[in-house]
């Protein structure tokens, strides 16, 4: 029998903290409580936006945020934005304060969970022990986190194993982090086994979600689907479960089921811009225009203060209105947000294309042509557009007599989407509607032929183990289809495997990094992208290069 030691006393004097709460009296109370622990370097933020701008300027050891912030964003979203944007690292302690006990269920499987949380009402002692607990854990995991960030995955794994074997009170935390490391390394089988091991101890939601993710990554989709359906049935508040389930269902060509799933997720947590957008996209694909309109509308209205709002969101909503013959609404979406759209070249492109398409559909050829020429100028200036937007552009070009430009656009889309029937069919429909259906087949064939052949050849070579030639072939395919994330990731994957085996092939490293950067910017949520990033770090470390995180391209569209 042992006497339990009181929690270790941390030196709070050297620490800095940020308190985020919309009530001035609550901020003051936190400040007083922290001062009693010796922590006097405390900054305050009343809103999410203020908090984000503070962490951009200052590094904090501790962040305490209320969950309920008012003004459209909650503490969980603040946490997610800070981590997504890389504004805070694993070393920053994040304590969530909430009056909603239901938050516990949300956080139980959240991908980005705070380090700990406090349920109101609470007292100063509980607050102190929670902070002590977080800091002690950070201390224990410091080296593991450092190794992970530096790409020293084997060292991070060894660190986790040490805690697992050593009867540590961080046993489960170590298993959870080890699972993430294994997934990041692409060792999905081992990660799956690890999650099953946790589930045998207790079927906690995060372990079941982790297992489902590894099943998805191993392409065992029906199993993943079954697991997730049961999970969200038992834990309806588990929003990340709906997102993963919808991804699995889309991959299984069950897009109607995916729509129902996302709809449930959105009902549970209507504020997430990304989930609403995904619902809009899936509904649009299912030709459920009404649902698509609602979801895309929610993205634009609820996303007003979100860093996740993108110019393309206005194009999505505008397109839905055009589809239902409500041209003036389509135009209004663009005009009402003109000043925001004009802040970036991508926004300018969206504004020109959607306005031009509106005029083209109305039959105002001269007006349409003027806008399309403007759009083409934005493209020359380097403005990026989603394939759907480029097809809108092609349609408006075609309707305003810019046939050659239309063909170029379709060709570009097709080269980057040789594996997407949806986009190719859409291109064919546009030409058929313009009575030029016979021209398009040749354009598409020419555009897709080479990349399809190179992809297939490269995959075969890689299967045979000829990594040198597979890399060469797939890198060519990537040059042909520089906007197709799957082609880019395939090339990067094979090239990384080659360099892992043969350090003499390091000449591909810069190109691979550029490919991954591009793929990440096009498809930031793709399930393979995380594993590839880690693989890159791993190979870079092995070849003696200093690894830096991938860069986000283009201007940030976040409103202050």
């Amino acid at each position: 029998m042992a006497l339990a030691d009181p929690a270790p006393a941390f030196d709070y004097k050297s620490k800095t903290a940020l308190v985020i709460d919309d009530f001035p009296s609550m901020r003051a109370a936190f400040k007083t409580a922290l001062a009693a622990f010796g922590l006097t370097k405390v900054d305050m933020a009343a809103t999410a936006a203020e908090a984000i701008s503070r962490v951009k300027r200052t590094r904090y050891d501790i962040i305490i945020s209320d969950y309920n912030l008012g003004g459209g964003r909650d503490g969980q979203q603040v946490l997610e934005e800070m981590r997504h944007l890389g504004l805070i690292g694993l070393e920053t302690a994040f304590l969530m304060v909430t009056a909603e006990s239901v938050y516990e269920r949300v956080v139980a499987a959240a991908e980005l969970a705070p380090d700990d949380y406090l349920i109101k009402p609470f007292n100063a002692d509980i607050m102190r022990t929670r902070l002590d607990g977080i800091l002690a854990k950070k201390e224990t995991f410091r080296q593991i986190h450092r190794d992970f960030m530096a790409g020293h995955m084997e060292a991070a794994l060894a660190g986790c194993d040490g805690l697992i074997k050593g009867r540590s009170k961080y046993l489960i935390d170590a298993m959870r982090f080890k699972g993430e490391v294994l997934v990041a390394m692409g060792r999905h089988d081992e990660a799956g086994e690890l999650y099953e091991q946790v589930i045998r101890m207790r079927a906690v939601p995060w372990a079941r979600l982790g297992l489902a993710r590894t099943l998805q990554l191993r392409n065992r989709l029906p199993e993943a689907e079954r697991l997730l359906v049961t999970l969200v049935g038992q834990y309806p508040e588990l929003v990340s479960g709906y997102d993963l389930l919808a991804d699995v269902q889309v991959a299984m060509d069950k897009s109607h089921e995916a729509q129902v799933t996302l709809k449930r997720g959105v009902t549970m947590s209507p504020r997430s811009v990304q989930r609403q957008r995904r619902l809009g996209q899936v509904s649009y694909k299912n030709q459920d225009i009404e649902e698509a309109e609602g979801a895309f509308g929610a993205v634009v209205s609820k996303g007003k203060n979100s860093i996740y709002l993108a110019p393309d969101d206005f194009a999505n909503l505008s397109r839905v209105y055009l589809e239902t013959e409500r041209g003036s609404d389509a135009l209004r979406v663009i005009q009402d947000n003109q000043s925001w759209l004009q802040e970036s070249t991508e926004g300018k492109l969206v504004a020109s294309v959607m306005t031009g398409l509106y005029q083209a559909r109305k039959g105002n050829v001269a007006e349409a042509e003027r806008h399309m020429k403007e759009a083409l100028r934005h493209r020359q200036m380097g403005a990026d557009g989603k394939p759907e937007l480029l097809l809108d552009m092609a349609e408006a070009c075609l309707k305003s007599g810019l046939d050659e430009q239309a063909a170029q656009l379709v060709s570009e889309v097709a080269r980057n989407a040789h594996d997407s029937e949806q986009l190719l069919d859409q291109a064919k429909r546009i030409y058929a509607a313009a009575g030029k259906g016979s021209e398009i087949d040749e354009v598409i064939r020419k555009a897709t032929e080479q990349v399809a052949r190179l992809s297939k050849e490269g995959a075969l070579l890689a299967q045979k183990g000829d990594l040198v030639n597979a890399t060469g072939t797939l890198l060519q395919a990537a040059q042909q289809a520089p906007r197709n994330p799957r082609v880019l990731m395939n090339a990067a994957w094979v090239a990384l495997r080659l360099m892992e085996e043969d350090a003499g092939q390091s000449q591909h490293l810069a190109e691979v990094r550029a490919l991954l950067e591009e793929a990440w910017n096009i498809a930031p949520d793709h399930p393979r992208i995380g594993g590839l990033q880690t693989k890159l770090r791993l190979v870079e470390a092995k070849l003696g290069f200093r690894s830096v995180p991938l860069r986000k391209k283009g201007p940030s569209h976040g409103r202050p």
């Binding site: 339990a4 109370a29 009693a36 009402p121």
Partner: protein, 215 residues
């Protein structure tokens, strides 16, 4: 705003005020003068009790057909739990000796709903603070494959009628001690693992012993 929204907003407001009140009381330093410190400690204890009653009320309001739903069962350290509860007791009752004990065979982690378990144990601690002579012990032990978290004091022990009622599993009267015990039993029973269900045990052993047993 309908009645439900109004109710939610009122509750939210109440919780915020309660946090402010508690943190304010917690920030008043002791002066070692009884005329100052005694009412301060009494006020702090009352603040804790009000907070606890509010949490219980909300939980029962949400409970379906008398059964609580656990919010978040996860792995926690029994040792941390014991240390945290002992710290609470120490800070509320400077005149008592508070001992935290963890048996050697207690595993480093156990699965439970931390927030609910804390509510149950805090209720026991508040009772013990009112009745203990000189000493409170918070302890983690392993018993029959269950984690037993207990609060033990050196008081005269529970009155017979409470022990009888609890042993028979009958509902206890809904005031004071009875309410807290009834609530703790619901929390214990909500903890299930495979075929086993948690239980609350109350007994006297040179004082009152309040024991939450978790599978």
């Amino acid at each position: 705003m309908d009645d439900h929204d109004l109710y939610a907003a009122l509750l939210h407001e109440t919780k915020n005020h309660l946090v402010l009140l508690t943190l304010t009381l917690d920030s008043i330093p002791h002066t070692r003068q009884d005329a100052h410190d005694a009412p301060l400690d009494a006020a702090r204890l009352l603040g804790h009790k009000v907070a606890e009653r509010l949490m219980q009320a909300m939980l029962l309001y949400k409970a379906e057909a008398g059964a609580l739903r656990l919010n978040a069962v996860n792995a926690y350290s029994p040792e941390d739990m014991v240390a945290e509860m002992a710290q609470q007791a120490r800070s509320l009752a400077k005149h008592l000796e508070v001992v935290a004990r963890v048996d050697a065979d207690v595993p480093p982690i156990w699965f439970f709903d931390r927030n609910l378990l804390q509510m149950a144990l805090m209720n026991a601690i508040h009772n013990s603070i009112s009745y203990a002579r000189a000493r409170i012990e918070v302890r983690a032990a392993l018993s029959d494959g269950m984690l037993a978290l207990s609060v033990r004091d050196d008081s005269d022990g529970y009155p017979e009628h409470i022990l009888e009622l609890t042993a028979q599993g009958l509902p206890l009267q809904s005031n004071g001690t009875g309410l807290g015990i009834r609530f703790a039993r619901l929390i214990a029973q909500a903890h299930r693992n495979e075929e086993r269900e948690g239980e609350l045990r109350l007994y006297n052993d040179a004082g009152a012993v309040f024991e939450m047993r978790l599978p």
